[in-house]
């Protein structure tokens, strides 16, 4: 019985979430991509660098589902192998921002005072620059590369995460059950962990999801500018960048990676919207 009840809150959430068809479509699409990543060796027909000089710049056909590029590499296979970069860019960068942001946000929001003031002023300073610029500067500092980009994007997203967490924590902090916990001698860690965060988690989850989408966009923009993962790795942004010289004649070189980046981001944004509506029934109209 205990288990059932515990799940009843989740079930309520799921009942609301399920009604949002777009969000469900988003989840299915992301699940499909994860499936592709797990079985990339089986799904891809060729290696990422198999060059075939007979079939350079071939249009999409049954043989080459998405066509080939200027070196005769199968774009379908490269897209399959590139999926993991895009997805992990989003997830890892957003997770970095979440770790930093949730820590700073909950500490500043819960304790307030001088430290809060100091950290929030620092956040203000970070936030004067839009996060793509911040990521750009950090890439310039760390040097280009996939990992560096990921870290740069993650750090660039952490001020916003800090703000969201802080606001949510402050909203919970003034609730009377926190006072009740204090008067029952609950330790600060227990209060933050058992009382504050579970009640502040909704906006944090939404921000996390939305930032996964943003991180993918920023990461692929950096790759496109030549600052991310370097060729010949099949990262979608850099594939698109490499294909732009031929785009007049061979639309598939730019269209396919572009459409897929958009679909991934769209799917995640739709999930984020669905989560927001389902997690916060008050906002639902």
């Amino acid at each position: 019985m205990g288990r059932n009840r515990k799940n009843s809150q989740l079930y309520e959430f799921w009942k609301r979430f399920r009604r949002n068809k777009l969000a469900i479509a988003g989840i299915l699409f992301i699940l499909l991509l994860i499936f592709v990543i797990l079985f990339q060796g089986v799904i891809a027909r060729e290696g990422i660098n198999d060059q075939k000089y007979d079939d350079m710049l071939a249009a999409p056909s049954m043989k080459y589902l998405f066509g080939t590029d200027q070196y005769g590499r199968d774009i379908f296979s490269r897209m399959v192998y590139g999926t993991k970069y895009t997805i992990s860019m989003g997830l890892i960068a957003a997770s970095i921002s979440a770790v930093i942001g949730i820590f700073l946000g909950s500490v500043t929001g819960y304790y307030g005072g001088k430290m809060d003031n100091f950290i929030m002023r620092a956040v203000d300073i970070f936030m004067t620059l839009p996060n793509i610029l911040l990521a750009l500067v950090m890439t310039a500092s760390f040097g280009p590369g996939f990992f560096n980009t990921m870290i740069a994007v993650g750090i660039a997203g952490s001020p916003a995460m800090t703000r969201v967490t802080r606001a949510a924590v402050m909203g919970v902090r003034n609730q009377e059950f926190i006072e009740a916990a204090i008067s029952n001698n609950a330790s600060d860690m227990r209060i933050i962990w058992r009382y504050v965060l579970p009640n502040a988690i909704a906006p944090i989850i939404v921000q996390y999801t939305m930032f996964v989408a943003q991180a993918i966009l920023i990461g692929s923009s950096l790759s496109f500018l030549g600052l991310g993962l370097q060729p010949p790795a099949p990262e979608w942004g850099s594939m698109l960048s490499a294909g732009k010289a031929y785009m007049r004649e061979c639309w598939w070189l730019t269209a396919i990676p572009g459409v897929f980046i958009m679909l991934v981001v769209l799917a995640i944004n739709m999930i984020g919207d669905g989560l927001r509506d389902a997690l916060d029934p008050k906002q639902k109209r």
Partner: protein
Amino acid sequence: MNSKVETRDLKKYFQTPTGTLHAVDGVSLKIGERQTLGVVGESGCGKSTLGRLIIKLLGNTDGSLFFDGKDITNIDKKELRELRWKMQMIFQDPYSSVNPRMTVSQIIAEPLKIQNKLTGSEREERVEELMKTVGLDSRYRMTYPHELDGGRRQRISIARALALNPSFIVCDEPVSALDVSIQAQILNLLKDLQDQFGMTFLFISHNLAVVKYISHSIMVMYLGVSVEQCQTEELFGNPLHPYTRALLSAVPVADIHHQKKEIAIKGELTSPINPPPGCRFAPRCPCSSERCFQETPKQKEVKKGHLVACHLYE
């Protein structure tokens, strides 16, 4: 009579961007063992702050605080931990006073768990017993608070406060968010609990009728200051301070034969930020004189057990 709780000239100031807010400004009170002291006043009079000062959820700016005859104004962390098992609070808003992410039994067991003296099954038993005491059906054990109505949530809150057998409980407007029929149930429950366990209550409310029903003695607060303090019957039979009189006359009575004594007071609450010297109530008082605006009246015993802070009674 031994006093369970005593404050002497207790003060709490808050710094705000526009000045110093005098939330509680020199309150002295005594609550006898097994007694209920009702604190009445309008919003912003500092009654909630006073309650939080007494159970040390807030630190006081000045003055001293005694519990069971012992000075607890400046105690260290360890002593405070021990002290907190003995005093508890019941809150106003049944919707925000319980953690929505915990089940009813988790909420009630939380103090027991933190104190960590009982085994798991003993805890279960105790929770069951507490739920019975406050009149919560045991089928609600695994329910989340949002599935329950305000009255039942307030019962959870009460059960949690009772978990460690405290000897003193601060009730901060425990019934003001409830409908009248539920309000009466909770008031009766609190009365019964006091008889059963011999607890001492500080009962904070803006509702005079409720305070009259539950308290042995009453303190009337206005802008951080206690203006009148005495036994309940005395206060309602012989109110002295002009504010108390006005307050009593303003309460609508559910009796069509009640003759209303019209003592209208003008204007509204003045600001508690950097208050000017003199009586706080002077700007609204129908009997204020020059002196009231210059000299702050001291609380004096004008009759046995009847304290008033007003220049009229000197």
